[in-house]
């Protein structure tokens, strides 16, 4: 797998075109592979030759069935997982490890339980040596953005799941990242809370002009949030389809109800569900 992809990289004709792409893209991912070492010298190819770009202020969603390697791709961008082959560039700089230019929100609740909401949001600024006054301003701004100001002195155990994920979002954004990486951030929430969180996220991302790369397997969530959907298929994970959203950026619907009044969204939903059925093994058929 590694050999094949590296030769691809050298001989691929669209290499010149992609260099241009590379110059304008916020995040540039080219021919990325991930192999996991298994027992007995076997390797598992989790991600095979994945290429895509994310533009400034774009919300890009990785959608696909379980085992399609979408989380692995996100973790490689975060620098939490090494890259077996290919290149990942953020602002034309190759990624070498985790860094504060890429904020991450996990599915599990990762608020530090011994710190208050305020101290959690402040954490990144503190370890990066920002002054007290600066920390205060930025922290208050983002706590306000996620509407947690009345709870800024509460501890995470006193908050609901949705509120904890808002702390995680504020904490990631307060650190001033270039891109926000989200790994099924609302996967553990109640459906009604998930709704509210999606609308809140859309609002914040637009106000902060943030670029987002998000993983989900919730079709509805992908439709509502995305400017661009990358549909992945599994074994090994590859990009099956690149789907631009019917409406982009500020033209996107801001509530769930209004989205389903637009026929293009309903058609796209059907299309994605067909894709999902195609790539998923169905034991009943």
């Amino acid at each position: 797998m590694i050999d094949k992809s590296s030769t691809l990289l050298l001989s691929d004709p669209p290499q010149e075109a992609s260099r241009e792409q590379q110059a304008v893209s916020k995040l540039y991912i080219s021919q990325v592979c991930k192999n996991f070492q298994l027992k007995g010298h076997k390797t598992l190819c989790a991600v095979s030759s994945v290429s895509f770009e994310v533009q400034q202020s774009e919300i890009c969603i990785l959608l696909g069935p379980s085992g399609c390697g979408k989380s692995t791709i996100l973790r490689m961008v975060a620098g939490l997982e090494s890259i077996s082959a290919g290149r990942i560039l953020l602002d034309r700089q190759p990624i070498t490890g985790p860094g504060r230019d890429r904020g991450m929100v996990f599915q599990s609740y990762t608020s530090f339980p011994w710190l208050t909401v305020k101290q959690n949001v402040e954490y990144g600024l503190r370890v990066n040596g920002h002054s007290r006054a600066e920390r205060q301003d930025i922290t208050n701004h983002f706590i306000d953005r996620v509407r947690l100001t009345p709870f800024k002195d509460a501890y995470p155990d006193q908050l609901s799941g949705g509120m904890r994920q808002r702390v995680a979002i504020a904490r990631a954004l307060a650190n001033g990242p270039e891109i926000l990486l989200m790994d099924e951030p609302f996967g553990a929430l109640d459906p009604e809370t998930r709704w509210q969180m999606q609308e809140l996220l859309l609002d914040i991302v637009r106000m902060e002009n943030m670029t987002v790369l998000m993983v989900t397997h919730d079709v509805d969530e992908a439709l509502f949030l995305a400017d661009k959907i990358l549909f992945l298929s599994s074994h090994p994970g590859t990009v099956r389809e690149r789907i631009p959203a019917p409406l982009q950026n500020s033209a996107k619907p801001t509530t769930k109800e209004s989205m389903y009044e637009i026929p293009e969204y309903i058609n796209l939903q059907k299309k994605i569900m067909h894709l999902m059925r195609e790539v998923t093994y169905d034991p009943t058929s």
Binding site: G99, T110, P113, W114, V127, D157, A172, N175
Partner: protein, 278 residues
């Protein structure tokens, strides 16, 4: 088919059903009353030699006399000093080692094969060596008490550290924290509640070893008093010593429990969870 009525008394035994606080206290108290009552009845039975098995009242009298006339308080304080000094030394060594081993698999791979087997070497078997090396004073006693707990402390603190969720560490990494910062500001505070629990549990082991430490070549301390009493067949004084050790153990345990509540209130609020809606 008709359901047979359950006897009234059995209705109180529901599987995993919470018991009211008042009933809990009452039941706990009742078990102690029954214990002392049983002891008293057994000891005052004519078949029993009261000198070898004195009733509780005699033991409490002996305890009073020990404090009032034999300066037992000095022995108790001496024992407490040995426990605190040895435990302090053990923690000072075990805490950094355990944290490093739990954080860096490289350190674990190097030290665990060495530390782990030491847990299975019985600490009392080192007493003859310690007597030769350190004499019969406090140094020997404290060294023995350190040896008794330190291997367990190191491996348990390592386990506590390894149990810190990886997501917390990864979150800190993506927020730009370096290795030192992560160890100091994430791994240590995240592992600390369990480490304090480990301290509490291993302190009980320390109290167990204290008696052994003070039975061998000791002139003061609770254990030494018990050995003196044995020479004169003062069984009531021996039992009084046991009671004091049990009481002190419970006192230290309770103190560490309270400390846990004080330091980590966020772990003791489960009833109030989701205090705020949505």
């Amino acid at each position: 088919m008709t359901q047979l009525a359950e006897p009234a008394i059995l209705a109180n035994f529901e599987i995993k059903k919470q018991v009211p606080k008042r009933v809990q206290v009452l039941l706990g108290f009742a078990s102690w009353v029954l214990f002392f009552l049983g002891w008293h009845l057994l000891a005052t039975n004519s078949q029993i030699n009261q000198q070898l098995f004195p009733p509780p009242l005699k033991v409490f009298t002996a305890l009073w006399m020990l404090f009032a006339e034999e300066n037992f308080l000095a022995d108790v304080l001496q024992s407490v000093f040995r426990i605190l000094a040895s435990y302090g030394i053990a923690i000072a060594i075990a805490l950094p080692l355990g944290l490093l081993m739990g954080t860096f698999p490289m350190v674990e791979a190097f030290l665990n094969p060495l530390v782990s087997p030491f847990r299975y070497l019985p600490a009392p078997s080192f007493i003859p060596l310690l007597l030769m090396w350190l004499g019969t004073g406090d140094e020997q006693k404290i060294a023995f008490l350190v040896l008794g707990v330190i291997w367990f402390l190191i491996t348990l603190i390592m386990d506590n550290t390894q149990a810190v969720p990886m997501e917390l560490v990864e979150t800190a990494k993506t927020l730009g924290a370096g290795k030192g910062s992560i160890l100091r500001t994430i791994i240590f505070p995240a592992a600390l509640p369990n480490i304090v629990d480990t301290f509490r549990q291993m302190l009980a082991v320390s109290w167990t070893y204290l008696v052994i430490a003070e039975i061998v070549a000791a002139t003061n301390g609770i254990g030494a008093m018990m050995m003196r009493a044995k020479r004169f067949v003062h069984v009531d004084e021996i039992m009084a010593g046991i009671l004091v050790i049990g009481f002190l153990g419970l006192l230290f345990d309770t103190a560490l429990r309270l400390l846990h509540w004080q330091l980590f209130p966020y772990l003791h609020r489960s009833q109030q969870k989701n205090l705020y809606a949505y």
